[in-house]
Amino acid sequence: MSEPIIRMQGIKKHFGNVIALNGVTFDVRPGECHCLLGDNGAGKSTFIKTMSGVHKPTEGTITFEGRPMEFSSPRDAMEAGIATVFQDLAMIPLMSVTRNFFMGREPTKGRFVKRFDLETANRITMEKMREMGINLRAPDQAVGTLSGGERQTVAIARAVHFGAKVLILDEPTSALGVRQTSNVLATIARVRAQGVGVVFISHNVRHALAVGDRFTVLNRGQTLGTAEKGQIDAAELQDLMAGGQELAALEGSLGGTI
């Protein structure tokens, strides 16, 4: 089995007196989709934020391609080849879709003065959005006026476009329609096939099982364990994700998985 691209060991993270992570170990290999699952508030988002350079861990080590690494900013992580879709999407509402898409990594043209190549940027944006199943009215619409799902799609398309070695997706399908969801899952399968390591966070067991190769479950800031694909079935996984507590009784077709 290939070496992990990124390996996080014994990660702890405290915010003042709040203990968000209490020793989490995790790795991603090239060409695999590693699902990070867990209850609300388990610490998933906090964990991937330390992975993408937003937070510095209070304790623990990060190894990137075999070398110990300390990202001092998200820009560092990006330059190392890690692209992230944050749960809050990291978009600027007042800026246009294109400008958000290329924020921080603008394509340029011009020999002496490197101008922002807006035409190319607009074209790429419209194209990538269409691939994800969203037909934008215009690339200069402000992101703040997009619908929730449209906005999420921009964030995903952006990360996929720039994701070089590792692609981290924090609940990417939460606001998406069925068509867009299936596009995103198909995209994950595609980039994984290209050798990119994918970290996928979801509350939807079916989505996780559809694309995941390994499954790590967090609970209250700690790892509950990691399972390979095939070693675990939907019901077991769902049980782990709920933190071992029983679910409310429900009529209807929800019997199995939610």
């Binding site: 820009r75 509402p93 921080g104």
Partner: protein, 367 residues
């Protein structure tokens, strides 16, 4: 994946060219300029809109505009600089001392003044970033510190006075002087006067000896700033930084670098205004630039910048400075009782901004 790719989208109504133009934040302040112009065309003495009159109100507008545009860029980037006015006094003092007391040529004195200003701007920025304090309070401290330091410096170098003189003599003959002071296109204007196309003074000289260079600097800076904001990656970073600092940083924008650069830019703009006015008046004193930080912010806000950052334009600040300059100077051309000056100033400002806003709203539908 879908058939509607190229076909016009039925979810969009067509809109006219004017609508599309008026939507641009850059053009928001044009309405105000037109309104104010009409007001003065009606009420003011015709002397105001002669060539000489226009140059007369554009000169203070230009000086204000240079710092206004810088303030607008900083404001778009999400920060304030209240030390602009004091920086004008301080940079003026430094420049005056270099030129008069040290006798340096402009080619050395100007870069040195700029370097001093830029490093003070960087200090401002570094403190803001390091401590996480609002820039309002940090630059406010520098407002006091630099104002006080200008006074102390002037007293030391003049032996007790608050005014340092003799700059004009010191720079006379320097080949850089015409770039920072006086009038451009003097020959052209003289020729036009000779042809009788423009008014002349009793002495036969043209009433307007040329275009004051500060106006050229103003135009040039507005053009460059607009280009940077709209067409350069750096512009995108500025908008992103001001729009949401965390989101921008998470998306890979070098937020700290952007902010520090903007603080340096603002300080340099103040230093430029200082150099221009010090050469022009031939002296500097401890009160130079008093309250200018305030006027710079006013120009930016009239021009449509949001105080919360992330929105605005350099062209807006350009027109904002012109509106402000026109109103302050223009009232003198009218027959109104000058005691009412401030009432008019406030009223006109309000009217111009409300008018801008009403037009923009009407044009873009609700927002």
């Amino acid at each position: 994946m879908s058939a509607t790719t190229a076909a016009p989208d039925e979810r969009v109504r067509t809109e006219s060219l004017t609508t599309r133009l008026m939507k641009r934040p850059e053009l928001g302040a044009v309405g105000g300029v037109i309104l104010v112009t009409i007001f003065f065309l009606v009420t003011a003495s015709p002397a105001m809109f002669t060539l000489a009159g226009v140059m007369n109100f554009l000169t203070p507008a230009a000086q204000l505009g240079i710092i206004g545009i810088a303030a607008a860029m900083l404001m778009i980037g999400g920060e304030f600089d209240l030390s602009i006015g004091s920086m004008i006094a301080f940079a003026g003092m430094v420049f005056g001392v270099l030129v008069v007391s040290m006798g340096l040529p402009l080619i050395l004195a100007i870069p040195m003044t700029m370097a001093v200003a830029a490093s003070l701007g960087a200090v401002n920025g570094a403190i803001v970033l390091r401590t996480g304090l609002p820039s309002f309070i940090v630059t406010l401290a520098f407002l006091f510190i630099l104002r006080g330091a200008s006074l102390v410096g002037l007293k030391v170098f003049t032996g007790g006075a608050t005014q340092l003189r003799g700059v004009r003599d010191a720079v006379a003959g320097d080949w850089l002087t015409p770039i920072f002071s006086g009038h451009a296109f003097g020959g052209l204007f003289r020729w036009m006067a000779d042809q009788g196309w423009i008014a002349t003074l009793a002495s036969g000289n043209p009433a307007v000896p040329g275009v004051p260079v500060s106006i050229l600097w103003f135009l040039g800076f507005a053009a460059v700033a607009t280009f940077v904001l709209l067409r350069m990656p750096a512009g995108n970073w500025i908008f992103a930084t001001g729009g949401d600092r965390v989101a921008a940083s998470n998306s890979g924008v070098p937020v700290r670098r952007v902010k520090i650069s903007l603080f340096m830019l603002t300080a340099c703009a103040a230093a430029l205004v200082a150099i221009i006015t010090v050469i022009d008046t031939g002296s500097t004193d401890a009160r130079r630039g008093f309250m200018k930080e305030f006027e710079a912010i006013i120009a930016a806000v009239i021009g449509g910048c949001l105080l919360t950052g992330g929105y605005g334009s350099a062209i807006g600040a350009f027109f904002g400075a012109i509106i402000f300059g026109m109103v302050t100077i223009g009232l003198t051309y009218t027959g109104f009782d000058q005691d009412w000056f401030q009432v008019f100033l406030g009223g006109m400002l309000l009217l111009a901004v409300v008018f801008n806003n009403a037009i923009r709203k009407r044009v873009t539908g609700e927002r």
